[in-house]
């Protein structure tokens, strides 16, 4: 999505958005800025306030403080004008189990007084077609699998042409084929010019489809920007595999890089006679080219290798690594089950 409008045009804009339940602050001063036309990944561990933020955005719950603007209009003040242009899947699909999939969509579509009733049947049909549920349209939702319900939920969000789609965990419960379908669906929606706001805890998914992302942790927004910006915020680093760890660290220090050992590599180095000790792995953060250009300590990776070799360090492996979104995510939100609550 390179064709993003003026930088000021935002589909979703929240400022200082907070929601308090009892004495727990579920959402704490969130300032989201979702550019028009973007596919925006909304990341965060379970319980970090993603769904509550979405509820506040859609006017389902009232904010304790702060404000929301959707498509340039105030929420929930101008809810009637805004919501018909927004399709949403909030906290999983919910349908009447005793009605068929098509009947459910008919009923939810009839709930919106703004859409023409004349085109309802056609719109329901095309929405079902878009998510591949035409064959199950007349089946009772009770008999649907979780993935089919999820598709029906997405179909509901697509009943009318939408400028903004808010999809909360859209691939939950879907098989790999379904996940791929949703991914291509999101891409095609974005290609049609819609802004897609996808909440997820599946990082790989966000990395594949999103242009922008934001990360929530314990109710706070800890990072936000384009995917490239988010990755860059975590520094690139170099990885050196050498048996001469001490000497290498000295060389790196001279170059202005602070090395940290990361234990002994146990894998044998091909061609090495000394297979029991491949050497030690050293990591050193590499100042990003953009920031380093301004400062004094610009170090090219090839210069590091040259310096190491010149100093007689036996370099057995060398690489520059970019932090993945996952590492960045874990760095921001905590490790393992020890996530901030």
């Amino acid at each position: 999505m390179t064709a993003v409008g003026p930088a000021t045009e935002l589909s979703i804009e929240t400022s200082g958005l907070s929601k308090r339940f009892g004495h727990q602050l579920a959402v704490d001063g969130v300032d989201l800025a979702v550019p028009k036309g973007s596919v925006f990944g909304f990341l965060g561990p379970n319980g970090s306030g993603k769904t509550t933020t979405i509820r506040l955005m859609l006017g389902l719950a009232a904010a304790t403080s702060g404000s929301v603007r959707l498509l340039g209009q105030d929420m929930p003040g101008q809810l009637r004008e805004v919501l018909p242009r927004v399709g949403a899947l909030v906290e999983g699909p919910a349908f009447y189990p005793f009605l068929s999939g098509a009947a459910n969509l008919h009923r939810l579509d009839a709930a919106d007084p703004h859409v023409p009733a004349a085109t309802r049947a056609a719109r329901v049909h095309s929405a079902l077609e878009r998510v591949g549920l035409t064959h199950a349209a007349d089946k009772k939702v009770r008999a649907y699998s979780l993935g089919m319900k999820q598709r029906l939920g997405i179909a509901n969000a697509l009943l009318a042409p939408r400028e903004l789609l808010v999809l909360d965990e859209p691939t939950n419960g879907l098989d790999p084929q379904g996940t791929r379908e949703v991914r291509s669906l999101v891409r095609s929606l974005a290609a049609d010019g819609a802004t897609v706001f996808v909440s997820s805890h599946l990082l790989a998914e966000v990395e594949q489809i999103c242009t922008h992302a934001a990360i929530m942790s314990a109710g706070r927004l800890v990072a936000q920007g384009t995917l490239a910006e988010l990755r860059q915020a975590g520094q690139a680093r170099i990885r050196v595999l050498t048996p001469d760890a001490g000497a290498a660290a000295e060389v790196l220090a001279r170059l202005g890089l602070s090395a940290a050992a990361d234990g002994t590599a146990t894998t044998a180095v091909p061609g090495s006679t000394d297979s029991s000790n491949a050497g030690e792995v050293l990591y050193a953060p590499l100042p990003a080219a953009a920031t380093a250009a301004a400062g004094a300590g610009a170090v090219a990776p090839e210069a590091v290798v040259a310096a190491l070799v010149a100093a007689g360090v036996r370099v057995r492996g060398f690489a520059t690594e970019q932090v993945s979104l996952e590492e960045r995510f874990v760095a921001l939100t905590g490790e393992g089950f020890d996530v901030v609550q």
Partner: protein, 249 residues
């Protein structure tokens, strides 16, 4: 539920038909008249269902209005559609009222039909001593059903309000039905007679005035006024609650 309600007059008619003559003065009022005139099946069935069956079914329907949607999770999708909170509340109340109108009507009509099928139908002697033809008697029966429909408006509004308080439909249904029972119990305590005119169930059984010639409309109007008051108060409470409610279901 309408089928269950329709079963009441059928049950009464079949039971009376199969048993020997009912001794006068025993059982629900009018029960002994059924064998002479089938139209009384409808009246008897309505009389029997007023204390429990009608409030029970109306409580279930009214209690389910908002809480049922919340329980299924469809409430959030209706609001995001956007259905509009006020509009949704009005439509839901209209649905509950439609049921409150249909329920006594079904009892009355099924009663008249089964009565006509199993017993002779003839002129009806009213409480005032006058006698009216079968056609007009049927009209009076529908009038009683209308009276009961009005009687259930207040309870429907209470159910709607209860329904906005919770995401568990059974809770809203149960509390509505319990309230109707409590109101009838209070109405039966003579020590509380200052309270009686204000209880929504106070006029529920006062449809006898519709069986006089000419019809005495006083109780109909008093009942209408009281039920209107309940609809206004609990409608406003439901509105106040639902318009600011955080939908988290």
């Amino acid at each position: 539920m309408l089928c269950a309600l329709a079963a009441i007059p059928i049950l009464i008619a079949v039971a009376v038909r199969l048993s020997s003559a009912v001794p006068a003065g025993r059982g629900p009022a009018f029960l002994d008249r059924i064998t002479q005139n089938g139209l009384f099946v409808g009246v008897t069935a309505l009389l029997v269902s007023v204390p429990l069956f009608l409030p029970l079914t109306v409580g279930v329907v009214a209690g389910d209005t908002v809480a049922g949607e919340a329980g299924l999770g469809t409430l959030r999708y209706l609001l995001v559609a956007p259905a509009g909170r006020v509009r949704l509340l009005l439509v839901k109340y209209a649905g509950a009222v439609a049921f409150a109108i249909t329920a006594p009507l079904v009892v009355a009509l099924v009663g008249a039909a089964i009565g006509a099928a199993l017993f002779p139908v003839g002129p009806v002697t009213l409480l005032s001593g006058d006698s009216i033809g079968a056609a007009e008697a049927l009209l009076r029966l529908l009038l009683i059903a209308a009276y009961l429909a009005v009687s259930l408006m207040g309870l429907s509004a209470i159910g709607l309000f209860m329904s906005t308080l919770t995401d568990v439909p059974v809770g809203a249904m149960a509390s509505t039905v319990v309230l109707s029972v409590v109101s009838q119990v209070l109405d039966a305590l003579p020590q509380l007679d200052w309270l009686h005119p204000w209880l929504f169930s106070h006029y529920w059984l006062d449809f006898a005035d519709l069986l006089r010639q000419p019809i005495a409309w006083d109780s109909f109007l008093t009942n209408l006024l009281l039920q209107g008051g309940y609809v206004a108060v609990f409608g406003a409470l439901a509105y106040g609650r639902f318009i600011t409610k955080d939908v988290l279901s």
